[in-house]
Amino acid sequence: MTQILNIARRELSSQFFSPIAYAVLGIFALGTSLIFVIGYLGPGQPATLRGTFEWVVWLMIFLVPAISMRLISEEFRSGTFELLMTAPITDADVIVGKWLGALGFFSTLLLPLIAMAVVLEFNASPDWGPIVSGLIGLVLVAGLYLAIGTFASTLTENQIIAFFVSVFVIVPITLVPIFVPRWTQLPPAVSKTILYLQINAQYEPFGKGLLALPNVIYFATGIALFLFLAIKTLESRRWR
């Protein structure tokens, strides 16, 4: 556990030295602010961030993989991976630590969203319950995207490839389900599964203010699955 935190801390501080991280921060702040100001801020609008957050989930498809793409790939490229893997720590320490560090960086992205909540507080009386649960939901979504991204990053030393691999894994579980209701010839079991797997649908209850166990389990299993795959990929590298 101490090793996980050690690696996570190093990862978090090194994120702030990467220009890509600042680009992600900037684009995220700008994007979310535009969504909020243009779409939801104004007299007569409900004092809620639910709509904004749902759009943020879409924005994250492209921004979160940009955070995770460097996690392992950069260590491969620079060779520091060799020193990391010859330290007396486990492969799981490395993967979970890296993922946690990236999640820590992601949480700084949420600052503009908190600022929006404060803006609402000054101008109206928002219900803080859904805002807090919405933020927790966003962290879970990011956790899943980052786990996918960590896995993608163990596959290649090229960050761009890692980025596209994670996007190509995320898109089918976010965009594809939208078209499922139109494919009436699909067996109901299949379409039900696809709809169940959709990240945005699993996020919805959080935006409403619901912290429901099935949704939390969905994200926890997804995160565990991809982190497990990442650990196995690292292990397999020793045998090449």
Partner: protein, 317 residues
């Protein structure tokens, strides 16, 4: 301290390490010598637990590198080839991070960082970003990192590659200071490197050990490959027949040119027939204008050994 047992590593269809076997007692500095691509780095990567062997095994301080990997790794300080570092970290910060990876607490870290930065002359650079350091200073950070947890075994993969002569000398003296305190395995493709600092040399080529022993033993082997060259005024045929009779002479190769005869005498193993040769020359009344001992240097021996290996492999293929 280090035991390598019938180690084999295949990279797909390529055999990188071919049934390697050797033992290194505690406190020795071993030069691991071989041309590029001989399998040096692969062997070291297996010892440090970065790669798994295809078959065979190795132990570090009694711990199996495969089954007790964490324990084995805890006993090794490793400086990989090209000395990878995080350019965005400060020297101190990086050493603390590495110390934590080795499970050292804050006090141990502080104390050991003081020791290793002093030993590697890094005191002035502790607050500097690694990315801004010169190559030589970065190498010192790499060494400091390897020494940090005071490991019984040090694995240094080409520690002087890419350094200027001054820095090479510094690294060499640093390695020499480790004698007796650590078991060091130092890989290089430059012979002079091990001539200066190693107690014993293992020469590998194409994944196999082709020579092993102390520098002196290797020199001895080299000497048997040496020749005595004599230029004298005489008939080549009589020179060969007379010299061949001399004690300690294994082979004579005489050729005549411009009235002078050049005889290349190969001494028998361990023998030095120079005096005896001088005597027969005087008894025959030959005029001598040159007599020299063509010593095969270690460098030549090394080239010869590794080249033989190449030829053998080409023939086999």
């Amino acid at each position: 301290m280090i035991e390598v047992n019938d180690l084999v590593k295949w990279y797909g269809p390529v055999l990188a390490v071919d049934h390697l076997q050797f033992q290194i007692p505690a406190g020795r500095i071993i030069g691991f010598l071989g041309p590029n691509g001989a399998g040096k780095s692969t062997t070291l990567r297996i010892l440090t637990g970065y790669l798994s062997p295809t078959s065979g095994g190795a132990t570090i301080a009694g711990f199996d590198v495969l089954r007790q990997s964490q324990n084995a790794r805890a006993h090794i300080g490793y400086l990989p080839e090209n000395n990878p570092l995080y350019p965005e970290m400060r020297v101190d910060e990086y050493l603390h991070y590495r110390g934590k990876l080795h499970g050292m607490n804050r006090n141990e870290r502080r104390q050991r960082i003081d020791v290793v930065t002093d030993r590697c002359s890094l005191e002035q650079l502790r607050r500097r970003l690694i990315g801004q350091l010169s190559k030589g200073n970065r190498q010192r950070v790499g060494l400091a990192q390897a020494l940090l947890h005071n490991p019984p075994v040090l694995v240094l993969d080409e520690p002087t590659s890419g350094l200027d002569p001054n820095q090479i000398t510094q690294v060499r003296s640093l390695v020499a200071e480790l004698r007796g305190k650590h078991t060091v395995i130092l890989s290089t493709h430059i012979l002079r490197e091990v001539e200066m600092s190693a107690d014993e040399v293992i020469v590998i080529a194409r994944g196999k050990i082709v020579a092993q022993g102390t520098i002196d033993e290797l020199r001895q082997t080299a000497r048997t490959g040496s020749k005595i060259i004599i230029e004298l005024q005489a008939d080549a045929r009589s020179v060969s027949s007379v010299f061949a009779e001399v004690d300690g002479v294994q082979d004579v190769d005489a050729s005549a040119r411009d009235g002078w005869c050049t005889a290349a005498v190969t001494p028998a193993t361990g023998a030095d027939p120079r005096e005896a040769l001088g005597k027969v020359i005087t008894t025959n009344g030959w005029t001598v204008r040159e007599m020299r001992h063509d010593k095969a240097s270690l460098e030549e021996l090394y080239t010869q050994i590794t080249a033989e290996q190449d030829v053998a492999n080409t023939n086999a293929a």
